[in-house]
Amino acid sequence: MSAQSDSLHTFTPQAFHRQAHDALGNPQIRANFRRAMDGLMAKRRDVFSDWDLETLRELGANIRLRALAKLPTLLEQLEANCEANGIRVHWAEDGEQACRIIRELCEARGAKSVIKGKSMVSEEMHLNAHLEAAGITALESDLGEYLVQLNEQTPSHIIMPAIHLNTDEISAIMQAKTGTKKTRDVDYMTAAARAQLRERFMAADVGISGVNFAVAETGTLCLVENEGNGRMTTAVPPMHIAVTGIEKVVERLRDVPPLYALLTRSATGQHVTTYFNMISSPRKPGERDGPEEVHLVLVDNGRSSIYQDDELLDTLRCIRCGACMNHCPVYTRVGGHTYGTTYPGPIGSILMPHMLGLEATKDLPSASSLCGACGEVCPVKIPIPDLLVRLRKEAAGEGRGNVKGAGAKRSRKEVAAWKSWQWLATHPSAWRGSTKLAGKFSVLTPSRLGPWTDHRTSPKPAKTSLHVLVQQHQAQTAPSAKLPAKGGPAKEES
């Protein structure tokens, strides 16, 4: 499983263009994603059919905004209530610090083996690799995550980690790594995984999980899942460590039902998931099972910097349903690994630049047709297209400059070209002179203009400009008509 860290280097956001090219040329990947995403879109549509979806989205967005408006106070309240319930709370400024906290908690218990529920934050901080390096095995227990881990890969979707693999591929992986027989029988494979993982649940010293909502009012950690591996992880081992981004807090318990309703329906088109698990304390005296120790690790990792800016802040409303990726025409064609980041798709493109900086991720905000599908389906109404545009500007050095790596995509040539155009366009005689010259020497213009001409032919200036043609035409048809005094495209309005 040490290859987990290698695979992280297989795909990088810097190589987005090459990876997209490769994915588009891979019919298997395209078919696997297309089929899955089409199904998810249809299911989501059906499951909301008898709901006042707009009102529910409005409420969801309000709840998230209210939580963010009171964020520092709610985090303190969450901490106080968790501690009062017996849950120890830890804070981490970045992924590395969070990994260290978790490793130290494991070491303090002499833990050698960790079983994990699904947690995107732990992916974001590369927790498994960190624990492996310290001699602690970390095994994923969500079936999709387990398969991806067996295959020495990272998840390609935040809800369905193994969506890029089809049944035959999964059978081959399980056969090679666990000795099961080759089959297309999903029940057989599921049963085999159940047996393999049950042993590990029993043996694990520590269970690590994510958190879907953390309730400040009661100090409660909510977990959403279908498989029961989350319940196993948080109930069987003697210690449970929950890890979450600081934005996952909600103010009151009554805020949970609307968000839960939006999450399950948006994610997989389910009315409800099989389990909704709410944990408020470690095992109390007299109780027969559950962990003796529960810890909560609150991770910042770039979130407090997103929090600074009124516009960027909307990113933190996200409840990680994955609907934006299911509906994105780019994601559905290139798949999740292409992005080379923990969070792929539209949400990844607005979140990862803050975590990794725009130097590494400058292509991601452009990996969108801006068709608006992501913003339309987002259950908490995050204006994703607007944020993509904002980050494109930041990448080009035209935003407020408060995103890490702002200006990374700024090209000196491009800036100089626009500057000269601007000057020409506001100086009519120079403009007329230059268009005349361009017409005369049109054969000399370059046939390649960077990536723009990869799929287009380079434009050639016409021998005679439109302006001159119109003048000639008007002179012929209406000799008395008055011509505009000034020319130049920049003078459309005064």
């Binding site: 520092p72 804070w91 599921t190 498989e227 389990y275 709410m278 408020s280 027969r288 910042d300 600074q308």
Partner: protein, 223 residues
Amino acid sequence: MSARDTILKRLRERMDGPLTAPESNFAVVTHRGWSGEERLARFEAMITSVHGEVIHVTDSDWTATLADVLNRKSIVRLALGREHPVAWAAREALAGSGIELIDVDRDVESWKREQFERVDAGLTSTRGAIAETGSLWLWPTPDEPRLLSLVPPVHIAVLDADAIEDTFFDVIEAHRWADGMPTNALLISGPSKTADIEQTLAYGVHGPKELVVLVRHTSRKGA
């Protein structure tokens, strides 16, 4: 400065200044106005749509039905509590039936492997249910611990028909959950499932493969 203080300071000294919180109107998640019958029908339709099995029983004959279910499913080792009236009545009825009754009122450490490998089914009570989503709600206790509804391959849950409410929001509000949460509160909607292998549904991936809900109705005189 500690990580905690640094993070809180950054959040408090926000570049764009303080934020205002919008009002929330929760009407969309409550006030369904269903009758008792509609609630029951809705609950049943929803939980069966996710592979839950519903059997209607009365408070006088339910243990006989339980015995039938165990028989039909060839369950010979049933784990259950002792104190809850549901467990108590089941023990009474099943004594001498040949079904092995397994105590769960002991620390998991002392019988982890036994629980994982030798129990055929777990029987639990429920606190109520939610019509809108077909969910049971449970607050595990020392008498009926958390793993009883999770580890055995079959979970049999007893639900009183008049304990079904419209929505999750209604349950949280009506029972004032916020005033005191238990160690673990649970919603269960169907047996454990996954669609991680090419979107094909498979049951019992980690938890129970089957969920049987005995919905108990108050027996009327002459009925």
